[in-house]
Amino acid sequence: MCFPSQIESVLLEIDGLEPHYQLIVDREGSLDTLEVQVEVREKIFSDEIRELQNMEKRITKDIKDYLGVTAKVKLVEPKSLQRFEGKAQRVIDKRII
């Protein structure tokens, strides 16, 4: 696994992305899964599906390349993720162990 801050640095390397994200850890069978939710701001929004899917692929690829982790990237609406005061609760762990 990796630290949330490492995911954050990958996201911040991508032009137009803002550091509003949430990580959701879950388990499928005996494997842990990671979903990275990223807010779509107008800078990266496009009227073409293809462009947005390319952005999802780019984030997935960068996370894989830099951190060696396979994540599912999900684009979400602006301001839909929880805002934090002080220490951010970036990770939601849904695993039942």
Binding site: V40, R41, E42, F45, S46, D47, E48, I49, R50, L52, Q53, K74, L75, V76, E77, P78, K79, S80
Partner: protein, 143 residues
């Protein structure tokens, strides 16, 4: 000759679309034409409205990601082959359609087809030179 279209990012969840229509309804903005493109996770709502600037403003206030794009509106007779005649011309010129949607005018005689091209200016030029009726923005907003 270009028409302004607004597009809105929507997550695939109940109530997403209605929060947009509610905001537009409250601001008394009329939707002239629309299309919704969807994937498993998200959708893009594309709208032609009677007041583009105001629509963008009220949707931004509600926190939506709103884009503005130039599309092309072409009027064709509402009969078999209408759309095909346009596409044949564009294919010949090597112009790609990114997406399109259509509606029938109130008179019922003509259909209006909204196109998003990869090369908008070239497409408008080709359509006009071949006798197609490319509509002005004001005409479409007020249809």
């Amino acid at each position: 000759m270009k028409v302004e279209q607004i597009s809105i990012f929507l997550e695939n969840k109940p109530g997403g679309l209605s929060s947009v229509t509610k905001a537009l309804s409250d601001a008394k903005i009329n939707i002239r034409a629309l299309s919704l493109a969807d994937t498993s996770d998200f959708g893009i709502l594309r709208l032609i409205v009677d007041n583009v600037a105001k629509a963008k403003e009220v949707l931004n206030e509600k926190g939506f990601a709103v884009g503005k794009t130039h599309v092309v509106a072409v009027e064709v007779p509402d009969r078999p082959g209408g759309l095909n005649s346009i596409l044949e011309l564009l294919t010949g010129k090597g112009i790609n359609v990114e997406y399109m949607y259509a509606f029938v005018e109130r008179s019922g005689e003509n259909a209006v087809i909204i196109f998003r091209f990869d090369s908008t200016d070239e497409a408008i030029e080709a359509l006009k030179n071949n006798g197609f009726n490319v509509l002005k923005g004001e005409k479409v907003y007020g249809l």
